[in-house]
Amino acid sequence: MKSVVTTVIAAADAAGRFPSTSDLESVQGSIQRAAARLEAAEKLASNLDNVAREAYDACIKKYPYLNNAGEANSTDTFKAKCARDIKHYMRLIQYCLVVGGTGPLDEWGIAGQREVYRALGLPTAPYVEALSFARNRGCAPRDMSAQALTEYNALLDYAINSLS
């Protein structure tokens, strides 16, 4: 799993040397920024279900045709799966906040995403709408500190870009 620490170690290992001062400094930089993202991760985890539910509702509101017979949100099973997908994205974003990089989203969310949605005939626009809603819903300092919100929004932007 890619993070600052593992990247530094992989580079040091490739050169066969002990961690150098500059290696330690880049790890220190990552640790200093960790407080904000851990705060965001904590807040998101405590409210993940509601955040995902609101995002899901917003995208169905914008694309009501999804409720029509034969569409992706038509039956109860489909609805549950749509809501679950949004929740998956929010969970992966929480992982990214914990790790301090986009590794979890890249490996477990984005890799193969295009192929899966094409094979299942799912539109990506509703996903974009759901994540965009979450992107604009967060508010500092009501939900979390400004720095934490920046980290959180950056990851939502990253996920939105991967779907666009």
Binding site: M1, S3, V5, T6, V8, I9, A10, A12, D13, G16, R17, F18, P19, S20, T21, L24, V27, Q28, I31, A34, A35, L38, A41, E42, L44, A45, L48, H88, R91, Q94, Y95, V98, V99, G100, G103, P104, W108
Partner: protein, 184 residues
């Protein structure tokens, strides 16, 4: 390769839940500078630690440097020093990451079988690792032994905290123990 953060993520993903134990990670972050000092203490003294550990191993078993011993001739002694440095290096990586996966995947996996095939004596290797374990503890606590170091005594001089980084000493020791367990 995982670190303390990605380990928590992989564990949470196994049950499709969010990472809930954020406090453990906050503690990791809070003691981050101590960890970096510990890594620096080992990395800065690595060559000394390695040569001392191998020399100590040979002192206790002179047969190693006599004809037919595993550290004779120089070519094999050099291989021994190189291997001790490699092991110490991966332990340092593990300490930096806060997770043993890099040590397991890149160093210990198959090491025992390789040494068995090459006829490297396990007991001697384990002894050298044990010496490095004691040295690492001394360097992390910044309490190198004046009695043994003599004129070569070298202190890191990093700010000393109350518990002398006891948790990091325990963590580093656990990685050395992992090496010993993998070899024996």
């Amino acid at each position: 390769m995982l670190d303390a953060f990605s380990r928590a993520v992989v564990a949470a993903d196994a049950s499709t839940s969010t990472v809930s134990d954020i406090n453990a990670l906050k503690a990791f972050v809070a003691s981050g500078n101590r960890r970096l000092d510990a890594v620096n203490a080992i990395a800065s003294n690595a060559s000394c630690m390695v040569s001392d550990a191998v020399a100590g191993m040979i002192c206790e078993n002179q047969g190693l440097i006599q004809a037919g011993g595993n550290c004779y001739p120089n070519r094999r002694m050099a291989a021994c020093l190189r291997d001790a440095e490699i092991i110490l290096r991966y332990v340092t990586y593990a300490l930096l990451a806060g997770d043993a996966s890099v040590l397991d995947d890149r160093c210990l996996n198959g090491l025992k079988e390789t040494y068995a095939a090459l006829g490297v004596p396990t007991t001697s290797t384990v002894r050298a690792v044990q010496i490095m374990k004691a040295q690492a503890a001394a360097h992390i606590m910044d309490t190198p032994s004046e009695k043994f170091a003599g004129a070569k005594l070298r202190k890191m001089g990093s700010p000393v905290v109350e518990d002398r980084c006891a948790s990091l000493v325990a963590e580093a020791s656990s990685y050395f123990d992992r090496v010993i367990a993998a070899l024996s």
